[in-house]
């Protein structure tokens, strides 16, 4: 329902429930605020938004508004000013924001705020983009009646954790930071302590300000009270150059701005994209940019000559690579050559990489699944992925989200914020996982399955959906699916009939009633989203079961419906799309000839290996058994150290390109810096190599030319171009004013483009294929799990000193019950042995783990988990030995 009101003699019609401050912004009237933030609930703490409000007088007899002699409505003015940020509009309301009274109110509030605010704007990081500074210039009385000598003094440069610095003098107690931590980040580790003048922001968590989202509080802080350690004193805001970019640390694809000064990135700020990251980014994305400026970057091509790496020219290096590849190809055939590309490379590079190997060299051996990407792939999203137009930031009541085997807070932090936000707004959230995760606190249903039984759990859910009816006696299957478009429903129903919740309960350990309740809640929703991650195990039957569940519930092909796979790297989705796997060509076309996968290649399946942006030999157990190894890298990684030729590549901030995020959104990023030394972008290296190998038509001058070819040849990318990816988004969707966005400039805003899934095609026929689940996991014994953590031992993250203390050190996490049984305490060494491999690590008691599960995070220094389990294995089979190491 809409409501019409008058603000400063201008009529505006807005939906009922809109706050006055938002209604005013809609017609371009700015009401100054400090504490109000459109992403959070209003509190009315700062009183800056005071306005005069009048309501129409209604005649009690007629029920109509009274009019005076002149025919004007009679207005009853409220006796005191009203905070525009907490007051919703009502029909006929009259608001005045430009009267002398309102101006006097603002003067008074600012005069009070400034009694305790220091005048150190010249040294304040916020100076120049500070709402308090700007609003003081605009609305303050100019002089204060308070004595400067009696100004309040408090701790300056108080470390609130090691990333955020608090200046207690500057804080105006608007509580934006504490509310962000409470309402949005779900980490209530900030609070206001004490009262009156003694009130201050504190954090007593261990370590202080323990949150993955702490940097966002510095963006929304309306004064310079919260600043980051990283940006501290590095530049004044007006000295910065801004480049629109996309974060490359996980698959969410947060839009960011690289703020550079003197050719270096000095800070990373979120760039608004309501469909991806709203206005937030995680601390890894914000602070882990230092790899760009690392002194250890490779800048010159290196070639092994007589056992030593020698600096050579590009011509020499590339000629050598081409000669050797040609020789090996002639001698052993093209199959003797393979290629491994990291999923952190942009689309253009990945496309050329597979094109070089498949078309120029003629080998099917292409893979990206090494490191974090190992052992986890996704082939169902192309059919049943979330449909175009999905916006997790707007779903709420009526939507069900099933999170399966993913710790979103660690694996895809901003996706966590959006899923938790949906749950906060009424969405049904089912969190199914092998251990307690942070998302549990927002979940309406928590299903704690035994590791290895995720597939059985999904079959249990399928059983309920296909065999049970709801309270009204209606089937749980979705009626959006036209029966003619689904094949194999009867067969699937017959197959899952034996997977009753009771049977699944004995296998998975999840109570049958919980499975039933979750399935009913999931199927009852109008929209459903399934988010699955690596901890569910990556059995093909699991992926099939998830796709089947999405199809039979009808949660496919419509916006806010479908599946999201939480893949590891920034462009893992793009790698899947572009066929950087041995069995698929770009655009999910099946390959005629299946090549070797990454594991087979590094174990000696090929004689020559091209590696770009990946580190397949990081696991020290692996021996390099190759005739020829070429590595395109930023750093001298473990693989590069073994290489015959090392080619210096450029980092994402130094080039343009595009990433495809988890929701299949292709997003373009601009170059912000110059590459160091002689480094070249990967696509350019591949192009030169192809030309030297005699390929024709490889005359791409820019990534745009590569993308143009992708759009022409791959149906998924049809209709896409850099122009369309960088289509500016209409400003009305944005919180235009920097007061809300934390910076002094209006950053460019693009939404990117999603490619449509098969389910969105009107004529697509869904085939409900049946795949038998993997064998039941053992119900006894200990399981070793290798979960992903945000601050792991990754190559890029390791270059940021600031986050060094946050990086997880190698340890074994043990549940308190098991620790008691084994007599373990924090820090004691544990011996873990599996399949003739063993390791001794310090123990960390972690109450999030269930009994019988121990965890060693993936991708830590020395890759201990990968050494024990084998790369790509997320949890151990039976036969695990855990014991306290003697003498510790």
């Amino acid at each position: 329902m809409d409501v019409t009101l008058t603000i400063d003699n201008r009529e505006v019609t807005v939906p009922a429930g809109t706050l006055i401050v938002e209604a005013a912004r809609r017609i371009g009237i700015e009401i100054p605020v400090f504490c109000y933030h459109p992403k959070m609930l209003p509190v009315g703490m700062c009183r800056m938004c005071l306005v005069t409000v009048g309501l129409p007088v209604v005649n009690r007899e007629t029920g109509r508004p009274e009019v005076d002699a002149a025919g004007q409505r009679v207005i009853r003015w409220l006796p005191k000013p009203v905070t525009a940020c907490t007051e919703p509009v009502s029909e006929g309301m009259v608001v005045i924001t430009d009267s002398a009274q309102v101006a006097a109110d603002r003067k008074g509030i600012l005069e009070f705020l400034l009694t305790s605010h220091p005048l150190d704007c010249p040294i304040c990081d916020k100076g120049g983009e500070c709402p308090l500074q700007d609003l003081t210039y605009r609305h303050s009385p100019g002089v204060s009646r308070f004595d400067i000598a009696s100004k309040y003094h408090a701790a300056k440069a108080y470390p609130l954790g090691d990333l955020i610095v608090l200046d207690r003098e500057r804080c105006i107690l608007c509580a934006r930071c504490t509310r962000f931590q409470q309402e949005i980040a779900d980490d209530p580790v900030l609070a206001i302590e004490n009262r009156g003048r003694d009130a201050m922001i504190v954090s007593y968590s261990e370590p202080a300000f323990n949150s993955h989202y702490s940097g966002n509080t510095t963006d929304i802080c309306p004064v310079g009270a919260l600043t980051t350690r990283d940006f501290r004193f590095h530049a004044r805001p007006w000295e910065l150059e801004h480049t629109a970019s996309v974060c490359n640390h996980c698959g969410v694809g947060c839009n960011i701005v690289l703020d550079t000064r003197l050719g270096r990135i000095v800070r990373v700020m979120p760039r608004q994209n309501e469909l991806v990251n709203e206005v937030w980014i995680c601390d890894k994305g914000r602070f882990a940019h230092h790899f760009h400026a690392s002194s250890q970057r490779l800048t010159v091509p290196l070639m092994r000559q007589g056992g030593r790496m020698v600096e050579v020219s590009w011509d020499e290096a590339l000629q050598h690579v081409a000669t050797r590849l040609r020789a090996i190809c002639e001698q052993h055939g093209a199959e003797a050559i393979g290629g491994i590309a990291g999923a952190r490379l942009p689309n253009e590079d990945l496309y050329l990489f597979q094109k070089l190997l498949r078309q120029v060299i003629g080998t099917p051996n292409v893979d990206y699944r090494v490191g974090l990407s190992a052992g986890f792939e996704d082939d169902i999203v192309a059919e049943v992925g979330v449909a175009c137009g999905t916006d997790l930031g707007r779903v709420g009541c009526g939507t069900a989200i099933l999170v399966l085997g993913s710790d979103l807070d660690e694996e895809a932090p901003i996706l966590y914020l959006r899923v938790a936000g949906a749950a906060r707004h009424g969405a049904t959230l089912i969190n199914a996982g092998g251990r307690a995760t942070k998302l549990d606190q927002r979940a309406t249903h928590v299903l704690r399955y035994r590791y290895g039984s995720a597939t059985h759990l999904v079959l249990g859910l399928l059983h309920v959906v296909l065999h049970e009816t709801n309270e009204q006696g209606r089937a749980l299957t979705g009626n959006e699916i036209v029966p003619g478009r689904v094949r194999g429903l009867a067969e699937l129903r017959a197959h899952v009939s034996e997977w009753t919740p009771e049977r699944v309960a004995t296998i998975s350990g999840v109570p049958a009633e919980a499975i039933r309740a979750a399935a009913h809640a999931f199927a009852a929703a109008q929209n459903g989203i399934i988010i699955y991650g690596g901890e569910a195990g990556n059995h093909p039957a699991l992926r099939r079961a998830i796709a089947n569940l999405a199809i039979v519930t009808g949660f496919v092909g419509r916006p806010n419906n479908g599946v999201i796979a939480v893949l590891a790297h920034a462009n893992s989705r793009g790698a899947e799309d572009l066929g950087i796997v041995p069995h698929r060509l770009p655009g999910y076309a099946p390959a005629e000839r299946h090549g070797l996968n990454a594991t087979e290649m590094v174990q000696g399946g090929v004689r020559a290996l091209l590696v770009a942006g990946a580190d397949p030999f990081a696991i020290s157990a692996r021996q390099v058994n190759l005739e020829f190894l070429v590595v395109q890298e930023l750093f001298m990684s473990a693989t590069a150290q073994q290489a015959d030729v090392v080619l210096p590549a450029v980092a994402p901030g130094e080039r343009s390109g595009s990433y495809t995020n988890l929701e299949r959104r292709v997003q373009y990023f601009h170059p912000a810096l110059l590459p160091p030394g002689m480094a070249r972008p990967d696509w350019s290296i591949l192009r030169h190599l192809a030309v030297l190998l005699g390929a024709g038509g490889w005359d791409y001058a820019t990534p745009a030319a590569v993308f143009e070819e992708m759009a022409r040849t791959i149906p998924l990318y049809a209709n896409m171009s850099y122009e369309r990816l960088t289509q500016p988004v209409e400003i009305s969707r944005h919180m235009a004013h920097y007061i809300y966005a934390g910076m002094s400039y209006q950053s460019e805003a693009y939404e990117g483009l999603q490619w449509p899934t098969l389910a969105e095609q009107a004529m697509h026929t869904f085939v409900l294929e049946w795949q038998a689940p993997p064998p039941d996991p053992p119900t006894r014994g200990v399981v070793l799990v290798a979960p992903r953590v945000l601050y792991d031992g990754g190559t890029l993250l390791g270059q940021t000193q600031l986050l060094a203390s946050h990086v997880v050190t190698s340890h074994v996490a043990v549940s308190p019950q098991d620790a008691a049984v084994w007599g373990l305490a924090d820090g004691q060494r544990v011996r873990v042995a599996v399949c003739a491999r063993e390791i001794a690590l310090p123990c960390r008691v972690n109450p999030a783990l269930p009994t019988g599960v121990i965890a060693i995070p993936r991708n830590l220094a020395n890759n201990v988990a990968e050494m024990l389990l084998g790369e790509g294995q997320l949890f151990s089979p039976a036969g695990l030995i855990v014991e306290k190491q003697q003498g510790s």
Partner: protein, 158 residues
Amino acid sequence: MTSQAFYEELQGVLKKYPVKQSAVLEALYILQRDKNYLSDEDIHTAAEALEMTVTEVQAIVGFYSLFRRQPTGKYLIQVCTDLPCALRGADAFYRRLCERLGLPPEGGTTADGLFTVEEVVCLAACDRAPVAQINLQYFEHLTDQAMDAVIARLREQG
């Protein structure tokens, strides 16, 4: 108070509230009751029992002046010395009280740990000043002799 006893008492308290966190004030009151102040350990106990973060509990403790974070004597004597009371001699009365208990003018806790004297602003009893609040009990129209008698009686009680 042992944590065992605390958890037992808390179970009864929790029944009164729809969500655990609502019981935070009562839980803190139970923890403070016996020794008159909340130690760091108590804050952690409350946070753990009520599934809150330490920061949240600490913020609540900081907000309410009746929760004390420093070791306090068995008897907390609060004397108002604000203007109306001072006009009736409360400030001099307070200074003399500190002197007689051997405390510095800003108050503090006696060596035997029995009394803590504190200057406060307004006890809402200006008309009966000098006034002292001893562990939530009011003593009005005080003179030095009357106060000495009260202190002697409390000393006897130990």
